[in-house]
Amino acid sequence: MSKWSKMPKWLKYTIWPAVACIVVAAVIMFMVGYFGFISEQSDTDAERNLKETYTQVSNSFGKLMRRNWSILESCRDYIELSDNYDSVTPQKVTPKEFIESKKEYWGFTDLYFLDAERNYYSFTEDKQGDKPLENGSQTLIDANKPIMAGETIGSLKVTMFAVAAKGEYNGFAYTAIGISYTNTDMAKALNADAFGGTARSFILRADGNVLLSAQRGGGAMDNYFDYLSGMLDDETIDGIRADLTALCADCEELAPAADAYGYLPYTFRGEQRCIIYMPIGYEDYALLSDVPFTAVSHGFLLAQRATMRVLLIIFSVVIAAVIAVLIVYIVTQSKHNRKELQYRERMFDVLSNNVNDIFLMLDPQTQKVEYISPNIERLLGIKLKDARANIRTMASCAVDCNIIVPNEELQAIPIGSSRDWECEYMHQATGERRWYRVAIYHMSIQGMEKYVIVMSDRTLDKRLNKQLQEAFDAAQSANEAKSNFLSNMSHDIRTPMNAIVGFSVLLERNAGDEELVREYTRKIMASSHHLLSLINDVLDMSKIESGKTSLNVEPFSLPDLLEEIKIIILPQAKAKEQDFSIRTQGVPPDELMGDRLRLNQILINLLSNAVKYTQLGGKIEFIVQKIEESGQFCKLRFLVKDNGIGMSEDYVKEIFLPFSREKNSVVNKIQGTGLGMAITKNLVDLMGGIIEVESAPGKGSTFTVELSFTHVQEGAEDAWFRQHITRMLVADDEEDICLNIREVMRGTGIDVSYVTDGAAAVETAVKAHEHKSDFHVILLDWKMPGLDGVETARRIREKVGKDVPILVLTSYDWSDIEQEAREAGINAFMPKPFFTSTFFQTIRPLFAEAPQMKAEEPPAEGALNGRLFLVAEDNELNAEILQEMLAIEGARCELATNGKIAVDMFSNAAPGYYDMILMDVQMPVMNGYEATRAIRASSHPEAQTIPIVAMTANTFAEDVKNALDAGMDAHLAKPIDMDAVRTTVARILEKREKGETN
């Protein structure tokens, strides 16, 4: 392995940049040093260059001064001589002509005659000046030597050279003569074009006052040091002034030393300039030039620039090479890093898309989202861009918690620490719920504070925990239920069993005492019935809860159902002297499709309870309401109201739970399994309905059951018209019932008039009779205040006669008043509630025949007398009991110990030999269903007509259905209830006699 490969990674990454930096630094240092050297050389060169240039200018100016003085001296001689022109010398030109010729030749502007008072006489203007000169003349006069001075003639600034002279010109007595030059004229002497005309050159005094300026347009410059104020600091200017004064003082007249000069480089507004000054050898006059540095060292600067250019090229190449290396290195590294980054990002995205954890990074100051894993859209249904734009959008999916922690709480998390909590979130689109453990880490990443949020998915854990908890709860509940069930069953079974066993013992001991035997037997039977109902309920409950219960939907008559219910409940209510009434509201249909047995069971349960838990003389109302109808569907509400003992609020909450019974002294004395309401609730649920209860202790209870049915289309009602019934009178003290009857009869073509008491009924009927428009039917409530139904009927008969059929509508058993009613002229009774079908069936015979009281159904008593039954029963004990019971009823039976034998016995019997077959279901060899099918399928003449009744311990609705499906005519549950046997047999036989079959 090479040394390079052994080198630490950090060193590999830093070595090349370090080398590059060192190279660049070295080059820069070299160039700085080089340019410093060049600059120094350039400065020296500039100074030397300037000195040489302006030494020459100074010398030239000295020559100019001397030349001008020389000119003046020659002029002076001539002008002085010219005074004697005519007498001394024979000159050919006048002085004026002489001066004009010299002026043109030498180029001065004007010649002046000066006196001691500084007055002057202008040769050109040929007149004396307005005011004296300011400078020069006095010096001239005092020193008697040539002078040079700056003067202002009129408004024009000039440089004047003068020499002493004496004479008079045009009457002006002069002591000196001078010639003047304008600034423009003199500029040439100062080499104004030097350094490309960029130099500002002056002849000035040591105090800065300008005599003349070489600069074009420099005539306005008065004092150069004043001008420099602001460009150089005062101290520097004072230094120049002092230096210049000293140089001038040390200078010999018109012979300045070669090294008598000053040099000052300076920079103003980014421009490098240099000032050079030197005495000119006349008084304190000096030559000063202010030159741009670039102009002085132009050649040097060119060389410098060329060198710089070469160096720059070299440096650029080196730098370019270094940069190229760096770029290659950086690009390589960048590619590597980018690939690494892409790989990581890809990996992270893949991970993110395949895990259910969410990652975010926030800026602590702005809470701006700097990173968020893309799976947020999949997991929470929040668009990535929305979450990026505003972290608060996440709060919308939080359920009862918030991801947005207040700033102060966030800031309270120290760097390096975290805070976590659990939160439930709901997917924005699907509503799916997920649990997350949200952890906020406050950390420093490369010196920058960040909040990193990790949302770990805990949904599976939560669901598992929940399932476990539910399973645990269910197991616990089941265990409790089992314990409760066993406890309840133990108690509830032992209680009647205790009575049975106890009274059986007492019966054995007191077998001789007929009264005690009867008493004990009655109590044993009561306990047996209770035990039987308990077992039935337990089995029912078990069947329902196991989901094996199904509905047997078939057409049924609601009036029939209500009549059956009334038959069952009315005696119970009557036994407790309770006021039991049945009403309908909203015209419920007569014919419905539904499970009649289950509905019956529900309503009987509710009404039995109402009777059971209502005190003597209490009131029980059973109301059937049609609350909704749409097409063939209608919804009925069954209300069972009582003013009984009621229930506590706590008990109402658990009334539908199995084995629930309110614990109070009254209820405790009432027998019950505690399963009735649970079964009822389950049946209602099974039928897709709802059951509710309102109750309060001492204020009674109201149970409401709402169920939907399909109603069977009823036939046309023009039958009423065919019977010539168009008007009827109804009398009931409850107006609602009257109105209901009117509503029910709507559409039948019958005009219903009603009154609410008996007297009004009499009056109305009589009036109609007197107007020869008798009602076709009069319907009277039995129990009305004032005149009751019977009395009302009697009075109507007295006035109207016996042609009008009068019916009594009642919820009560009318057997007690039947005789009295017949005598009063009542034709028939009708049960409440009022149904058109019942009404029609009741009234049709009255119109078909002469009005007469309909005969009551034959009592079931004696229905078994003389009958011969084929009994299929494998259990000898049961067979014996049945045989004995039938014998008691005057009937006989032949036994078959299984279905096969029963089939054979029937097949072999002559037609009409057996009146009926009582068939057990569960039997060896051939069960009851198979036997029935075999009989129905046999060739026996009575195969189709022989009544077969199931007599079995299989008591569920399915069992009933199976029995009927097998071809049986009815179903009787074991243990055998002889009343039921009598009723069923009587009904079947009656039908058979009428020629009806199932």
């Binding site: 408004s155 024009l156 600034k157 600034n183 423009t184 500002r200 800065g208 300026s213 600069q215 074009r216 347009g217 420099g218 005539g219 306005a220 410059m221 008065d222 004092n223 150069y224 040091f225 004043d226 001008y227 420099l228 104020s229 602001g230 460009m231 507004r269």
Partner: protein
Amino acid sequence: MKPYLPLALAVAASLALAGCGGKTNDPDALTILGKKSDLTKPYMTEIFEHYQETTGEKLKIRSVEDAEYENEALRLLGTDEAPDILLHFHNADLNRFNVEENFLYFNDAPWADELTDSARAYCTDASGNLLGLPFWESSVSGCYYNTKLLKGFGIPSTQEDFDGMCESLLDKGITPIFWPAGCSWMAQFGLDPVFADAPNGPETLAKLNAKEIKYEDISSVTDMVTWIANAAKKGWFGKDFLDKGWDDISPALASGKAAMTFIWDTWFYTDFKDGTYTKDDFALMPVFMNTAQRGTYEGGNLNMMMVNKNSAKKEIAIDFLEFCAAPENYNVAFNGISTVSVFKGQTTNIQSKMVTDAKSSIEKYERVSTASTKIVGYSADDMMNALNALFRGEITVDACVKRMDENRLAKARAEGAEI
């Protein structure tokens, strides 16, 4: 000046006018016709009042709305309601009044020598006739400069020196001349020498007004525009002068950002606000604009009292002018008024130190305001419009000169001049 003072003066003037003849129906009263704004000047109302109080004579001051003045005055002049005295500036509009026919000359008036040279020159026509008595406030327009910023310089005596000075100032980082493009009057100072200086100026002016020549035929005009263009190009007017206007002059000068501007002395007392530099830091030199080698000043425009030659009361009118020209009277009227002296004996007016200090130079180089008053169709704004196009590089110097002339002619035509 306190803000309510102008209002008070105006009210006072109105009262004075009303009291001194505005409602007078005296047939002997001398009628003076003038613009409403002119007649309400405090020194005018003062002299009217002073005259009436002193002499017992009555004056009927008849003022006309400014906008209607020229036409109304012309109309009245040919009627029985012609005024005895007419107030008018010596400008191009005066040509419409046929001065020779309608007004007296005052060449030999006793007060003629009482006028300063510049005032007299202003009131004198091309034939040397004194047209009226200038009774107005005056000022001197020139190059006002910051003495501290120009330390080290003397007064330039030539255009070349002035240019050199500008260059040196620029080298020092100082904007030499503040010439806001929004201020149109400056160029007219350069034109005065072209049309005022004898012998060629008046002749050139006459030819120009007669449409015989154009600006482009006058080389001095081109010289001036060339100089302005070069100055702008070199940066003598500053970098952003195109965006500047009247309100920027005071801050530029007071802060020292610029060293000079072409303006008039009274401006320092009305608009200048002291800053780093105060008005005492300023002095006056001639304007150099390449049209006068020694530079130029522009004298003020003066309202003249002209006497109706055809008036029955012209003798009284002449007496009135003599009254006004008497030192004891004009010094009453101009007492405390900021103005350059119009009369030699004027002592009660307030003259700026700047003007006083430059008195000898002014005397030499002051010229009557010629361009704005005597060139038909001249408009400083139109001229500046052309110059601004030049500054923006949209046109050349020659095109600029041409456009100046086109603008002038267009304005003249719009004003109904026969040109």
